[in-house]
């Protein structure tokens, strides 16, 4: 455990040097750490706090505020299915079922191979092409069960 954390610590100082030492760098730093490591550890938070000379509790407070910042390890791919009104009307339920079946997990869970985390999200601004979902930084829209199976297969193959 300790070893992993030390290794993380080094990786984070590598990220920190790219940022200005000022309070408003906090969110950009957190987003970058979250992007590269998939989540933000207590040690990372401590290091960021030290870098910006602010209390760790404040870093924690900011991390806990944003849906996209995570303190838990996630899958390599986070699938976020929109569950807001237009997507719901366009057949979100079917997509929900196929995602659960194909990945073998429920929403809020991560596959045992560490590849996928399945979550809901609110409106992602794709209501004209609903149902829609995000996979990490990419958006997939006009979803059908067939399309979802294809997307998941392709992501699996990439590994």
């Amino acid at each position: 455990m300790v070893n992993i954390d030390i290794c993380k610590q080094k990786e984070i100082s590598g990220i920190l040097v790219r940022f200005e030492k000022r309070r408003d760098s906090l969110l950009p730093i957190l987003i970058e750490v979250n992007r590269i490591h998939g989540f933000i550890t207590p040690i990372a938070m401590a290091e960021i706090a030290e870098f910006l000379e602010i209390p760790v509790a404040e870093v924690h407070g900011v991390v806990s505020f944003y849906h996209f910042l995570s303190t838990k390890k996630r899958g390599k791919y986070t699938v976020r299915l929109c569950k807001t009104i237009s997507c719901e009307m366009a057949g979100k339920e079917k997509i929900e079922k196929i995602l659960k079946k194909e990945l073998g997990i429920n929403f809020g869970e991560t596959t045992s191979d560490g590849l996928f985390t399945l979550e809901y999200t609110n409106c992602i601004g794709m209501c004209d092409k609903s149902p829609a979902m995000l996979v990490n930084d990419n958006v997939y829209f006009n979803l059908t069960p067939e399309k979802v199976i294809k997307v998941i297969d392709e992501l699996r193959k990439r590994d």
Binding site: F65, F68, T84, I85, S86, C127, D137
Partner: protein, 389 residues
């Protein structure tokens, strides 16, 4: 229907013309032109843009900032996505003119994390504009310097509220705060800051180059110009439509090919749900809310389910800072669940209606102040279906 013929944002655009004109006149005159045009914010609150700029212009400060609000999180809204994807140069030109007008050398685009796939596109536009000397040092040899940087959000609807947005950019939890001070007094890095919506900024180059009078020939008195409408739900061609403000909902529905809908949510989850009897009302700052999100519901939709979806949204997205909003939305959702199960008495419902009034008047920000609207309007317009089911 004259409303559907004329376009501004989806019409012709030549990059740089508005900026060149702006730089050839005094900042005060740019502000005057925007004020005269009657342009009002397209992000929801509808504040007069020229007036906001004037407030910031008058502040004495070594540094000022302009921020483009690209947090677009209102359910059913996607017009800013379209503008940022297809015409990022126009957004940046508007932001640059805003910077020149108020005396800011730096601008930011606060892009919601969900739109990260558009980031490259925006950055490419920034590079292109710099190559053309429409951005960066000594723009068009005018001695005006201006730079733009994109800042990402991380998934929080409330960060679109301008005070929360500034808190978020300053490196804090994205929680709305009490006003005053307003962002034009104390905003990003505690300096005078103007926050404008993506669409608002896109109108700016046109107004500066073609004039306030020309802009006022669109729309109606008090609601000048056109507006982008994001239309989704039970219609044949969902998408973004540019129409003049003052158009009636009926006219809009005809344009987008909505066949005999039973209800329309106007203005997103924070807006109101209207039934057929109100379809002839105009959409404007004086009429139905012109936020731009139009969600169409066909005859077969269960309005209680619709309401439940909206309230779940608000329960999740409330920042939890103040009690009327945090508790209120939760209670309203609970009430909807009771209605669904058929065990909500009329007496209890009346209590919930009182709660709605409390939320409207004592919530700290627009989220809690507007979230009861869907509850009130759906209950009123679909009584038989929702209450006496």
């Amino acid at each position: 229907m004259k409303q559907i013929k004329k376009k501004i944002l989806f019409g012709e655009y030549v990059s740089g013309i508005g900026l060149e004109k702006a730089l050839s006149i005094k900042p005060e005159d740019v502000i005057k032109e925007i004020k005269d045009s009657g342009l009002r914010g397209r992000g929801g609150a509808g504040f007069p843009t020229g007036l906001k700029w004037e407030f910031a212009f008058k502040e004495e400060s070594d540094e000022k900032y302009v921020i483009c609000n690209a947090d677009e999180g209102e359910p059913g809204t996607f017009k800013d996505r379209k503008l940022l994807t297809e015409q990022p140069e126009k957004v940046i030109e508007g932001l640059t003119i805003a910077g020149y007008a108020i005396g800011a050398k730096r601008g930011f685009i606060y892009l919601r994390g969900e739109y990260i796939y558009i980031l490259k596109n925006i950055e490419k536009a920034i590079t292109n504009l710099k190559e053309k000397n429409l951005l960066g040092e000594n723009i068009l040899n005018s001695n005006f310097h201006f730079d733009v940087e994109v800042r990402l959000g991380a998934g929080a609807y409330v960060c679109g509220e301008e005070f929360a947005l500034i808190e978020s950019m300053n490196g804090y939890r994205g929680e709305p705060r009490n006003k005053p001070p307003f962002p034009t007094q104390k905003g990003f890095r505690d300096k005078p800051t103007v926050v404008n919506n993506v669409e608002t900024l896109c109108f700016v180059p046109y107004i500066v180059s073609k004039g306030a009078e020309w802009f006022k020939s669109f729309g109606i008195e008090g609601s000048t110009g056109t507006k982008l409408f994001s239309v989704s739900g039970d219609i044949e061609h969902p998408g973004v439509y540019e129409l003049e403000l003052g158009i009636t909902l009926n006219e809009l529905l005809e344009v987008v090919g909505a066949k005999n809908p039973k209800a329309v949510q106007v203005g997103g989850a924070a807006g109101i749900c209207v039934a057929k009897k109100d379809f002839d009302r105009p959409i404007s700052f004086q009429g139905l809310p012109p936020g731009g999100s139009i969600i169409v519901f066909g005859e077969h939709r269960d309005m209680l389910k619709v309401l439940k979806n909206f309230l779940e949204f608000f329960v999740e997205e409330s920042c939890g800072q103040c009690t009327p909003c945090r508790e209120g939305n939760y209670r309203l959702l609970e009430g909807v669940n009771m209605l669904e199960k058929g065990n909500c008495s009329y007496r209890y419902l009346r209590e919930l209606l009182t709660l709605c009034e409390v939320m409207k008047t004592s919530s700290k920000c627009g989220l809690g102040q507007t979230s009861p609207n869907c509850f009130l309007s759906i209950l009123e317009n679909f009584k038989d279906e929702v209450i006496f089911r």
